[in-house]
């Protein structure tokens, strides 16, 4: 009897074991969503200690034609380091001062490249100049400054506070600050993208024929600008004439003393925004609008004009520039180059703000090469920051939605981005690398990193699977799993209860039990005779009655 119970027990337990050890894991494995294992800790570490491993170095060559200063670069280096240490840095950066090395510079020039050079010029006063057409800092010094050993300090100060002013201002933190301020007023600038489309439109409020000399204006003014800014942004440009569209400006004539609030309420840019170039993600618009003659014969009254210009210019944040002309055009009008040139210049200046290169209102671009070079570096760091932020958001997202699939491609993109990031950081940290081309390369790499991270973040399958509710899985498997579980567990429970009741029986003394059984058998006999129990077979065995 006992061996039979043990056998049954072991059979039941093996069912349970099979159920729990093989069935459940197998079911879980087969129905679970694929989630690639992302380097979560590494990304978290990157997010918590941004730029920890970055030590950005910019090589600068000091050149002196009049005097020979054998140790000037070391002296300047000490001063620069001292100056940089005076403020807390957001990103660890420094200048690497080298003596002027003709071979390096000549090699660079030969391949169309250049480095930062400090040109020391003996003069009657101490001063500096940042030319607009090269990456050279000219420092003027006099003999007194050499004698008093002030020159290294002057050079260091010029370099840090003027040549690398943008870096210095942007990456130096105030005591209560943790993050640097945005490079440009981010409410105006479009998101940075290496490829941007520019759409220029001449809008005419009615159908009178118009022509414009935009091609000449673009080639004379805009092409040089495109060449200059090409390391940072590449443009595709189109110019169109559109009729019967004055952006609803005629409505403003009914308003007395309109303000820019009214303007922003009235203008309808939808038609221009929908016809964007579809290769680039971002587009900036220049719209030159002339009112229609039928609706505004006297012109738009709210446009303040002066003797120079018959138009008003407005920046539409993150969209572009709107040039509103006061008077309608005559039939067959030709808008000449001379009319368009100032508009284009104004646009170029506003474009720098829309691109986030110029950040303050009244600042001018005096030394564009140096500024663009600095903006490149800031963009690189911003891109690295953006990439890490994107990855961290991805990690948070996957953490928050446990049911979200993480395809293999996402992991590949992330690995790719992280590898490129390390490569880029090696490049940034190398004190000997820092020519114009190197910065361009670094910027391209950082753009690639951002792209790779965004590709990982916006992978279609991740969000698609997220909306497959977990209840569906249950609904599909419950008809099978429900009966199986009920049968197995209730069976096991019954088995163990049975054993328990049997052992209870064992406790009662056998004699007592025997006596009792005899009594009961008799009583049952009586009751049977009375007809209460009519089933013959239900009486105890004849052996017990004996």
């Amino acid at each position: 009897m006992t061996s039979l119970i043990t056998l049954r027990k072991s059979v039941a337990l093996s069912f349970v074991a099979l159920y729990l050890l093989i069935g459940v894991p197998l079911w879980y494995k087969l129905t679970t969503i694929y989630r690639a294992s992302l380097p979560i800790e590494y990304i978290q570490d990157l997010y918590n200690n941004k730029f920890k491993e970055i030590h950005l170095t910019i090589p600068v060559f000091v050149k002196s034609d009049t005097y020979r200063f054998p140790d000037i670069h070391d002296a300047v280096q000490i001063q620069v380091n001292h100056l940089l240490r005076s403020k807390r840095q957001y990103v660890d950066w420094s200048l690497e001062i080298f003596p002027y090395n003709e071979t390096i510079i000549d090699q660079a020039t030969a391949r169309g490249d250049d480095y930062h050079i400090v040109d020391l010029v003996l003069d009657e006063f101490v001063g500096y100049n940042l030319p607009y057409d090269s990456k050279t800092t000219i420092v003027y010094f006099d003999d007194t400054s050499v004698a008093s050993n002030d020159l290294p300090f002057f050079i260091a100060q010029t370099l840090v506070e003027h040549t690398f002013e943008l870096e210095w201002n942007h990456w130096s933190l105030k005591p209560d600050q943790n993050e640097p301020e945005q490079l440009a007023n981010s409410d105006i600038a479009v998101n940075y993208n290496p490829n941007i489309h520019l759409s220029m439109s001449l809008l005419n409020g009615d159908g009178s024929p118009v022509a414009w000399e935009i091609d000449n204006t673009l080639k004379n003014i805009f092409t040089p600008f495109r060449e200059m800014i090409s390391p940072l942004v590449n443009f595709t440009v189109d110019a169109q004439i559109a009729y019967y569209n004055d952006l609803n400006l005629y409505q403003l004539n009914n308003v007395s003393n309109p303000t820019w609030h009214d303007l922003s309420h009235v203008i309808d840019l939808s038609e221009l925004s929908t016809t964007n170039y579809f290769v680039e993600q971002n587009a900036i618009n220049l719209v030159i609008v002339f009112p229609g003659k039928e609706t505004n014969l006297d012109g738009l009254q709210f446009v303040n004009t002066n003797e120079e210009n018959q138009w008003g210019s407005f920046i539409v944040p993150q969209w572009g520039v709107l040039i509103v002309n006061k008077s309608p055009l005559e039939d067959n009008a030709l808008v000449t180059e001379n009319y368009l040139n100032p508009i284009m210049l104004k646009f170029v200046k506003d474009l720098l703000r829309l691109l986030g290169v110029l950040d303050t209102k009244d600042k001018e671009l005096s030394s564009p090469y140096i500024v663009i070079d600095s903006v490149k570096r800031i963009r690189i760091i911003d891109n690295l920051n953006k990439a890490v932020e994107t990855l961290w958001s991805l990690i948070k997202l996957t953490h928050q939605f446990q049911q979200m699939a993480i395809p293999q491609e996402v992991l590949e993109d992330i690995t790719n981005a992280l590898d490129m990031r390390l490569e880029l950081i090696d490049l940034l940290n190398n004190p000997h690398v820092g020519s114009n081309m190197d910065w361009n390369k670094a910027l391209l790499m950082s753009n690639e990193i951002v792209k790779s991270c965004e590709k990982a973040f916006f992978h279609g399958e991740m969000l698609q699977q997220n909306f497959f509710p977990q209840e569906h899985k249950l609904a599909v498997y419950l008809p099978l799993l429900g009966p199986l579980s009920v049968v197995i567990f209730s069976g096991v429970k019954a088995l163990f209860n049975e054993k328990k009741s049997e052992s209870e029986e064992d406790i009662t003394s056998k004699d007592e039990k025997k006596g009792l059984e005899e009594d009961i058998a008799e009583e049952l006999k009586e009751t049977k005779e009375l007809g209460a129990i009519d089933d013959k077979d239900s009486i105890s065995t004849p052996a017990s009655t004996d």
Binding site: P224, V237, Y243, S313, D350, L365, P479, G491
Partner: protein
């Protein structure tokens, strides 16, 4: 280094860049600089000052630095003074005329039984451009005047050299109305039809570009063109070669030997066509529906018609000598309306029964207040286009080379006049063609005492009808009847594309004819057949055949219907599957194209709750089997006697007796 002058202007500007949206007008750098430029002597100093102001630092209070070489450089920069001459700046000149390559005209043609065909044609040409130039090059600018800006980037990105898009709905009654407008080459099958010539190095690349093209057009025209996939795309061999022939289409990438042109074709049968497809088309026009004949294009009217067709054709034309290319685009809107119906709706926007006095009863038959046998429609008819379109034409387009024209093609039994709405005057012309030369409002009045008299546009070369045969859900047949009623034999190519779930058996191709002497071999000159690949490629069939004069014959083949996978059924699976129309291209005696009607194929449709039912039933059975096996293995096996004993022990009476015994034994009352 041209930009130095720009930088000078930027750096010397005294203007402030104002805050977003502010209404201040700023003084531009330009004026300041140009005034400097005018005074030769002082310029150098002032300009250098301007450069250096930003360069002077607080720790050196020295004077401005003269950098003569730089200043000299700026001043001698060629073209600078020329471009910024202070004398004639800021001018807007009036030219003799400014005209752009845009053309529009409208043709109105009465059809039998009081129908009216109206055709709108809009032609536009793009500015010339050099192909093979990277748009990111710093001197690359794209200019648009009348050609839509939305199209060129699309064509460039997808290397599309020719693009044809058709939105057609309705029934063209060829037997009564004659040939289709433009010999049928501008109208598609019912629904949306798209075909394009794409330059690519391989078929796969061509398909990818095609897919991108379809997706963009889908977004632009608010149509489901994005549903075009490889299972709907075919590469026509004989049809759709175009009237120009292959040689006229330029290859941009001549250096690459693999580069070739691919024609791709797809159709979405019976796709609904509506205002949301017309509005994007109007937005492509430079007039934007505000002037000229495009003012008539109103969705309510265009789609309130018996038959309508919107079409867009874009072609690339290149000049080999100058290596410059341009795009030509032709947009067309055609529609057939039933004039009495439209007029009635114009008069009574809310339909109500015709009054008793207005009923036209057949007087030869008995009639009274309760009984009336109606007469056929009145042949005396007079209406204006403004009644049909609910508006007048607003003005003309002043920027186009030739004035917009409206032509009415009628017989002499019609009186046509142009009405100038503003001064209420009427004009007539023998040619019945009117040019809109003024910015006035125009209307056209058509008047006839015999509207049955219409211009004949020739014979239809061939009539085609196609139908599904057979019954049941596993197989069916397809029967096409062709009829050449003319005196000359007709050569045609017949293009058909079937979805993969319709498995055609080409072996079952049979030809039947009225006189019985036409066989397959005799009829078909050549045949192209590409069998379907499940879910990847459609069946593609093309025949070239010659139909003898005065012959009617039919050819038919059998097909099997496939079961689709659960997820492949559309939401309205019981509606059936639309099969695109066959395309018949007549090669001789004259080029003509027509399409059969679309077909509705019924496939066996499952009960969509089936999968869950299957899961439940199979799970239940599995559960039952498992329960039995488990119980057999785990439950105790006893003899019948043992079982009886247990049963007794479990009865309530037994337990009560046990209790009684126990109580008695405790009280010592037991014996």
């Amino acid at each position: 280094m041209k930009f130095s002058k720009l930088l000078l202007l930027l750096s010397t500007g005294v203007s402030k860049i104002h805050a977003s949206g502010s209404l201040d007008v700023d003084v531009d750098a330009y004026s300041y600089v140009t005034s400097l430029m005018a005074e030769d002597a002082t310029t150098a100093d002032v300009a250098s000052d301007a450069i250096c102001t930003t360069a002077i630092d607080e720790y050196t209070k020295s004077d401005s630095i003269e950098d003569d070489s730089t200043i000299e450089q700026i001043m001698t920069r060629e073209g600078l003074k020329m471009n910024f001459d202070a004398d004639d700046r800021g001018q807007i000149i009036t030219l003799d005329s400014v005209r752009y390559p845009y053309d529009e005209n409208m043709v109105v043609r009465p059809l039998p039984s009081n129908h009216l065909l109206t055709s709108f044609v809009f032609d536009m040409t793009s500015e010339s451009f050099g192909p093979r130039r990277n748009p990111q090059e710093s001197d690359q600018y794209t200019h648009y005047t009348v050609f839509p800006k939305a199209m060129k980037p699309l064509l460039e990105r997808t290397s599309t050299r020719q693009l044809q898009l058709r939105f057609t709905r309705g029934f063209w009654d060829a037997e009564s109305w004659g040939p289709l407008p433009y010999d049928g080459v501008k109208s598609g099958g019912s629904g949306v039809e798209l075909w394009a010539t794409i330059e690519a190095t391989s078929k796969d690349e061509a398909y990818h570009k095609w897919k991108s093209l379809a997706n963009y057009l889908s977004g632009h025209f608010c149509a489901s063109i994005n549903f075009i996939d490889s299972a709907k795309t075919s590469f026509p061999v004989y049809s759709f070669k175009g009237d120009t022939g292959d040689s006229a289409i330029p290859l941009f990438d001549r250096e690459n030997k693999d580069s070739n042109l691919y024609i791709l074709h797809a159709a979405l049968a019976n796709e609904p066509i509506c205002t949301e497809n017309l509005t994007p088309l109007i937005k492509l026009l430079p007039t934007r529906g505000k002037s000229g004949i495009s003012t008539y294009l109103d969705g309510h009217k265009v789609f309130d018609s018996v038959w309508h067709s919107l079409s867009i054709d874009i072609d690339t034309k290149c000049d080999l000598k100058s290596e410059l290319c341009h795009y030509e685009m032709e947009a067309m809107v055609d529609m057939v309306i039933h004039v009495p119906n439209v007029l009635e709706r114009f008069e009574n926007p809310i339909p109500k029964p015709v009054g008793g006095d207005k009923l036209r009863c057949d007087l030869t038959k008995p009639y009274d207040a309760y009984e009336c046998f109606p007469l056929p429609e009145d042949t005396a008819i007079s209406f204006s286009l403004s009644q049909l379109f609910n508006k007048t034409i607003t003005g003309c387009n002043k920027f186009i080379e030739r004035p917009s024209t409206i032509c009415v093609e009628t017989t002499t039994e019609w009186d046509i006049s142009l009405k100038i709405v503003d001064d209420d005057s009427l004009m007539g012309d023998e040619s019945n063609c009117f040019e809109l030369e003024d910015t006035k409002r125009y209307d056209v009045i058509l008047d006839s005492h015999n509207s049955k008299s219409v211009v004949s546009t020739g014979d239809v070369p061939v009539f085609v009808s196609r139908a599904l045969t057979g019954y049941g859900q596993d197989h069916g047949g397809l029967r096409t009847v062709l009829n050449n009623p003319n005196d000359t034999p007709v050569t045609i190519t017949f293009f058909e594309s079937f979805p993969w779930f319709m498995r055609i058996f080409l072996s079952s191709l049979t030809v039947e004819s009225s006189n019985g002497d036409i066989t397959v071999n005799k009829l078909m000159e050549s045949m192209y057949y590409s069998p379907a690949v499940d879910r990847k490629r459609p069946t593609h069939l093309e025949f070239t055949m010659e139909i003898p004069a005065h012959t009617t014959f039919s050819f038919s083949y059998q097909f099997d219907k496939t079961l689709l996978q659960f997820a492949e059924y559309p939401p309205d699976a019981n509606h059936g599957f639309e099969i695109e129309s066959a395309v018949v291209t007549v090669l001789s005696p004259k080029p003509y194209q027509l399409r059969t009607s679309t077909l509705l194929l019924l496939l066996s449709t499952p009960d969509f709750s089936m999968p869950y039912n299957v899961i439940i039933i199979s799970s239940t059975i599995l559960g039952l089997i498992f329960g039995v096996v488990f119980n057999l293995l785990v439950k105790r096996v006893v003899t019948l006697e043992e079982a009886d004993k247990v049963l007794v022990e479990r009865s309530i009476k037994y337990r009560l007796l046990m209790l009684k015994q126990r109580v008695l034994s405790k009280l010592g009352l037991s014996h």
